[in-house]
Amino acid sequence: MKKDTWQIGGRELTSRLFLGTGLFPNPYVQQEAIKASGAEVLTFAIRRVNLSAAEDDSILQHIEQGAFTFLPNTSGASTADEAVRIARLARASGLSDWIKVEISANERTLLPDPIETLRATEQLVKEGFTVLPYTTDDPILCKRLEEAGAAAVMPGGAPIGTGLGILNPYHIGLIVEEASVPIIVDAGLGSVADVAQAMELGVSGVLMNTPVAKARDPILMARAMRLGIEAGRLSYLSGRIAKKKYATASSGFDALKLS
């Protein structure tokens, strides 16, 4: 079978898990969980990083330099202009030219502001960034972000850190159907069932932090998520059966005949 890889901004990826680096109980558990997850892309908030010495940053210092693609995010920004300024800072520091646009205007829900997100995406694409906007799960908006030049579009399953899972699987399904760039479910996932569901809906990957970092055993959960994504992806590629109202004998009558 052909190797099941995918691409963002010209980079070929095998893993379908983007992992956040925050919230881990300690550096040891963080390092081991990253290993166990198999993630190739790691994400973090630019405002939390010491950009003048990223290799000595309190979180990034524990991560092997050069081994991962970094996806810095603009969390904390509440307008497109702010997000653009933060993105430029991150690129100037040499961390990465990938950027996750994350703009929220409400400190309680942290839900993305769709209009500012679209504006920031347009601007950052113009400036040559590889842009991955985090957005609400609106199919039309996701298409508009793609048309604006997003390298991948990342609709949320539920508000950040809630672990509520995919609140509107119908929308995620529609978004995938319409998309011609990778769709990544970002935020709100809680369990392996949620990531398997996302993958069965046909998304290209998932991004998470809290469900791994805040699990009782983050290292074990990182592995569980990796396997859940793989299982969901294989299930999607295999094609599930149609749902039926009544039973169908799995052995069939022919199998019962005596020869």
Binding site: N26, R47, S58, T74, E107, K214, R216
Partner: protein
Amino acid sequence: MSEHIIIMGGGVIGLSVAFELQSRGYQTTVLEMARCGGQASGAAAGMLAPYSENVEGPDPFFQLCLDSLRLYPDWIGRVRERSDVTFEYSESGSLYLSYHEADRLALEGRLLWQREHGSTGAIIDGPDLFDMEPLLSRQVKAALYTPEESHLYAPDYVRALEDACRSTGGAIHEQLGRVSVLEWRNGIVLEAQDGRRFSGDRLVVCSGAWAQELAETFDLPLPIYPIRGQICAYALDDVAGDVDGKAVRHMLFGNQGYLVAKANGTLVCGASEDVAGFDTSVTERGIERLRGWNKQAIPALENCAPFHQWAGLRPSTQDGYPFLGGLDPAAQVMFAAGHYRNGILLSPITAKLVADRIENKALPSYYSYFAPGRFDMS
């Protein structure tokens, strides 16, 4: 005759548990493999800062930290009553620094829930901020001020606890080397490396990162990892320049580390964390990291060199929560270990909860989150 309780570990947790139990009329014996306060406890910067150390939300760990902070004034009074060793306890308040306009949203979100939990904090910016803290970098955009937070001088505090234990009749044995548990199902028997045996009615394990060595004895997963924390200290006079009065007035926190000025004229800067097993040596990278960061908080530090640097092992569990509670239904064996960065802060509440459990008193609702058996899912 009162119950005799054996305590493994003479760090800040073991000594606090011993002092509390002695105060309640129990007979305690502390068994320490090296010397009291020789690891994480003596290396700590002594910050009592539940709000600055828990920025995400009011989880059970924050509740535990907050309850402990609230016990402090009374607890300090009790320790001072029983010990001649003096120690600094300073209700300085803290400033959590932010450098990006984008941090404002995070600070506001934090303030929102922290004000519901006893903080009278506020976001301070502009001239007000630099009036409060004159040496602060003008690159600091805003800070979250939390008046409730305080700090103490950890090495002296640990010595005072040790003294308070002895003066209330507690026994302390140091330099025991490896201590093994020979019996725990019917009475408690422990053996030191030189063959000396200690027996009692109950055991409280307070041996920090070394508690993991008991996993086999109790047939229980006890995932605690030693995380090395490196710290350095400056002479405050070198930093102060011509500032009138106290040069650094609040604890300063940022997402890269902290600075705290002590009454003995030092400015303590921490901490660089890394994973190095039980190695407590200081590394050049660890200290240079601090020096690279701290001038972003106080620019005058650029031209100063630390006169002292050290490292301690902070015991962190798999989920970051300490082990606190009984192993068996009768709590004949109890754990109070794995307090990571917050051992000093958590010492009064840990002592109280261990003693309350032994006396079958009511326990707070969050207590069960810290059960030492929680990693045993089989």
